[in-house]
């Protein structure tokens, strides 16, 4: 060939993160999420006090007074330290239940899409699981195993499985209908390799978006279960449990309930906004 081909460098496409940061709300929510996760991870080092130390000389201190930035609760424990440690428990609870429920749910969804014989069975199973509200699950599991963080994690994981399974199944069904899957089959590729190399990477975006949105919901549900006394038990600091403990002092020391409640609100809102923004950013039509 006498023709020479020179490389034409195409204009660099913006990455997902760059597209995400175009939207101010998304940037703010991402910053909040990162900040919250950092605060939770670093809680033992950045908390000014031990979250269980009581100072009976300074009970129910309002925020900003004395040595306590966010005040103290009914037992004179530092609210800021309890918030940081509470965030840790709340996020860990959410991450663990989402992780367990997500892995099982995605496996179930892929299995249903790939092996059509068991599709009906798996999806009816998911329907049965969907018909129980998460709170009811929490009550049942707390009744069996006794209340505690473990009960909440199990309940939320079980409640997440059918949702993840449905998302994974529908996404996988679309991808499995595409020609490159047929091409891989025509090459004689085995099931495991085909799922790992062709199916999973192309199903990742919708599952990631749903996981982000679900994380907010799981935290809200986990806090609700703790608020009802089924989750974290005293003296463990957990945002929902803290809000519940402050109820009795609501009229003369509202900050004890309100601060954890605001914490839950901010975390859930940040994950929801981030999930929405992620859905937009991962849309290939916006990649210009």
């Amino acid at each position: 060939m006498s023709t020479t081909v020179t490389e034409v460098v195409p204009p660099a496409r913006p990455g997902t993160l760059k597209i995400l940061l175009r939207e101010p709300a998304a940037a703010v929510s991402l910053a909040v999420v990162v900040l919250v996760i950092l605060a939770a991870l670093l809680a033992p080092w950045i908390a000014p006090y031990d979250p269980f130390d009581t100072d009976l000389m300074a009970v129910m201190q309002p925020p900003g007074e004395g040595a306590y930035l966010l005040g103290t609760d009914g037992q004179g424990r530092d609210m800021l330290s309890r918030m940081l440690h509470g965030l840790r428990v709340t996020l860990a609870m959410g991450a663990l239940s989402l992780g367990i429920g997500g892995v099982i749910g995605v496996a179930m969804g892929f299995a249903a899409a790939y092996y059509r014989r068991i599709d009906g069975l798996l999806m009816r199973l998911a329907d049965i699981m969907l018909s129980f509200p998460a709170i009811l699950f929490g009550l049942a599991i707390a009744a069996i195993f006794g209340p505690g963080v473990t009960a909440v994690v199990i309940a939320l994981a079980v409640a997440t499985i059918p949702l993840m399974a449905r998302i994974a199944r529908s996404t996988a069904l679309v991808v499995l209908g595409l020609d490159y899957i047929e091409a891989a089959r025509a090459q004689g590729m085995g099931d495991a390799r085909l799922i790992w190399r062709h199916l999973m990477p192309n199903c990742a975006s919708p599952i990631l978006v749903f996981a982000t949105l679900r994380f907010g919901q799981v935290i809200l549900l986990g806090s609700a279960l703790s608020f009802l006394g089924l989750g974290a038990q005293p003296p463990i600091a957990e945002l929902g449990a803290m809000a519940a403990q402050g109820r009795t002092f609501l009229f003369f020391a509202p900050h004890i309930s309100v601060i954890p409640a605001i914490g839950i609100f901010v975390v859930v809102l940040a994950f929801n906004v981030l999930g929405d923004a992620l859905r937009d950013a991962l849309d290939p039509r916006l990649r210009i």
Binding site: M1, S2, T3, V5, E7, P10, L178, D179, Y180, E182, A183, A184, R185, A186, Q187, G188, M189, R193, R197, H198, P201, N202, P284
Partner: protein, 355 residues
């Protein structure tokens, strides 16, 4: 010597079920109903027909992407099943219609092309990389394209990548499922010519699924016309285009779009729709739309009969039909001729550039 591919009485019936828990079968879709053909080495057999006639299903049955209900596929004399399937997976490759859906968007071009070699354990990582470069050159792409992702390419380029992938394991037969119908006409010419070049160089055989008769005229050695899951006529290309014997083949040829308004009225398009393959007409499946249908056609299914060397027709009255009126001088519409001229021009240009 036996043919490279022999397909006999290939059948695919899909059960139609009703009911949610206790599903019972209420009917059968006869997608492919007793199709037989053979492909010799170095030959191109084109299967043409309307959408829904079963041509893509036939391709997938030959590839064993779906299990046939009945019939046999013999590749190089060996019936395809079990261990022979593994050989088939290497020696028969496929090029798909939609260049946008046939490449995994998350894999670099190099990985896509090297994949069949990996699956069959051919070569080392280095030798595969070298082969990828070689293949890219063969299909008219540049070595630096290997590191790019599919979305950075045009439809024609993607189809070239798909062809490179098919060539990677040195197959003997390539099944092309409408390989150019999703491309622009000018790009079609390039891809069709590329396929022809590769056939000459490597002695490839093609099973070419198409609905575009201009492309078929350019590519095929022999043509099989399908209607409702059955082959109604098969003949060398010349015979199909110059002297079609089955009324359906004639209808297909005259349905090629035509820019000449004076032609209106000269050609009567066949009326009606393709009947449902779930409930195909009795006797000859074409009798509901055939302008020459008689009572016998409703009662008796015509067999494929040899009417000339290599020319088989499934019509009771093939011999007695009125002579076929060629649409244009050479049996093709001027549009088709123009398209062919375009292909030839593209080829000449390429030869000039190469030389």
């Amino acid at each position: 010597m036996s043919a490279l591919l022999e397909v006999e009485n290939l059948t695919k019936h899909y059960p139609v079920k009703k009911g949610i828990v206790l599903a019972r079968q209420v009917g059968t879709v006869r997608a492919v109903d007793g199709v037989s053909f053979r492909i010799e080495r170095g030959e191109t057999l084109a299967i043409v027909g309307e959408s829904g006639c079963g041509k893509s299903t036939t391709a997938r049955l030959v590839l064993r992407l779906i299990e046939p209900t009945g019939g046999t596929v013999r590749f190089d004399g060996l019936e395809v099943s079990g261990a022979a399937l593994r050989t088939l997976r290497r020696r028969v490759q496929v090029v798909f219609q939609d260049p946008y859906a046939s490449l995994n968007p998350r894999l670099r071009v190099a990985d896509t092309i090297a994949e069949p070699m990996e699956v069959h354990g051919i070569g080392t990582a280095e030798s595969r990389a070298a082969r990828v470069k070689e293949l890219l050159g063969l299909v008219g792409l540049a070595p630096f394209h290997a590191q790019r992702y599919p979305h950075e390419f045009s439809g024609g380029q993607r189809q070239r990548i798909g062809i490179a992938r098919a060539l990677a394991v040195q197959p003997e037969l390539i099944i092309c499922d409408e390989p150019v119908s999703a491309l622009d006409v000018s790009i079609q010419a390039q891809v069709v010519n590329l396929l022809k070049d590769l056939q000459r160089r490597f002695g490839l055989s093609y099973l070419f699924i198409a609905h575009d008769l201009a492309v078929v005229h350019h590519m095929a050695d022999r043509v099989a016309v399908m209607y409702l899951g059955q082959i109604v006529e098969t003949a060398p290309k010349r015979a199909i285009f110059d002297a079609p014997m089955h009324p359906y083949t004639r209808a297909l040829l005259s349905a090629i779009p035509h820019p000449d308004p004076r032609r209106r009225g000269m050609v009567k398009p066949i009326g009606g729709d393709v009947p449902s393959p779930m409930n195909p007409p009795s006797g000859c499946r074409f009798h509901t739309r055939c302008p020459f249908a008689q009572d016998r056609c409703k009662a008796e299914m015509p067999e494929l009969r040899d009417l000339a060397p290599g020319h088989r027709v499934a019509c009771h009255f093939a011999e007695t039909l009125p002579a076929h009126i060629s649409v244009a001088e050479n049996g093709m519409s001027p549009v088709a001729s123009q398209r062919l001229a375009l292909y030839a021009a593209a080829k000449a240009r390429k030869a000039l550039q190469a030389g």
